[in-house]
Symmetry: C2
Amino acid sequence: MPHSPLIGVLGGMGPLATVDFLHKLILATPAGRDQEHVATVTWNVPQIPDRQHYLAGHGDSPLPAMLHGIRQLNAAGATRIVIPCNTAHHWFDALAAASPAPLLHIADATLAALGASDGPVGIIASRGALQSGLYQQRLAARGIPYVLPSEAVLAQAFTPGCYAVKRNALQLGGELLQQVGEALRQHGATRLILACTEVPLALAAVNSPLQAISIDPAQALVQAVLRYWQQAGSAAPEPGAGSGRATVAP
Amino acid sequence: MPHSPLIGVLGGMGPLATVDFLHKLILATPAGRDQEHVATVTWNVPQIPDRQHYLAGHGDSPLPAMLHGIRQLNAAGATRIVIPCNTAHHWFDALAAASPAPLLHIADATLAALGASDGPVGIIASRGALQSGLYQQRLAARGIPYVLPSEAVLAQAFTPGCYAVKRNALQLGGELLQQVGEALRQHGATRLILACTEVPLALAAVNSPLQAISIDPAQALVQAVLRYWQQAGSAAPEPGAGSGRATVAP
């Protein structure tokens, strides 16, 4: 059954966030039986050098391991590929260039979900993802102001909160990441982009009121996947060979 | 990075049960950081003909679609393969024979988790899984007596309970599936095998006291995966080519 629509998921960054993305995709799919759910193949292999460490100047590049995953997903027949990790999008262009199956970009999907904003947007993200400017560039292009965490907030709340989630300490992670969101609110943010896959998990674990003004890029990526799935399902099976980057229809 | 330990998951039966298995695997892994989690590749493609319908004499065989998944997991480099669905194990031998990577059997894993039993074991499962005799054969081989639900209990409690869970009516599903367990207890069962992925969810939803005497085969399969992962991780990388079926060490 080659060339049927098949979503490849480059996971492992981290493994729990990958499973959370798959869970959100299932819950968001309007399916009445197993066979109506989205077909996925997920490379959840976390033996990838640490992205945040590398972007901070330490350790090996994660790119070779990520390229290996992209190759495996293409070999498995993926017709679109998503990466439910914001920081990994630092390498998006290199990955897209190496992938016959087009990649859907998490920040494109998030901007589509954000729509118009009536105030500054706070971005909760790793130092590496912030340095990549994934969200800043897209918000600026739309004329939407944004607020970033300070160095002190990153060091004292974001980074320890993120690693707490990675070791399954969700309550502690939630309390720390809630502090990051509160700091952005104090600097004027009226919406928050939770641009690190650990953050929505952690805020949910502490039942944070910030969830009401937050956009979860993983959830936005789910919506982008469902738009593709519905289009592909209603069209003739497409040839597997494409190239580069797909347009995410709003 | 060929030949590194990699768990292939033949999913899609159903897609939510597959994700639940992946989630249980992550929660059970003693990992302090992303890189210490189990490497998995998951074929969660639910476009497989209905297993229970086929076993009841209707519709197409699911075997070709399952064999396609097994081929894709091998092509992706899986060194062991698991199927987090009891009913699908009806086709276990044909799948294992076609797979260079050995398959871990969910009922072998469950028997390893059961250990010695001091009384009859009740099996809560679909008609199809009961007809396959997966658990009955293994219990009999160990001299452990077992109790099965009657036709009346299957029709009046198990099947409606299962479908209630599938449409998210967890309370009703829990009450009905609790009745199945109670009926088995009245016939002497001192332990229960919850050999259908809906059952553990439903019993948890009603906080059933039966949970204390129950074994969840998905959780047992997680433990089998972790035993393999720990052995493989402490040994030299193994050649990817094996054949047939793996022994699950108790």
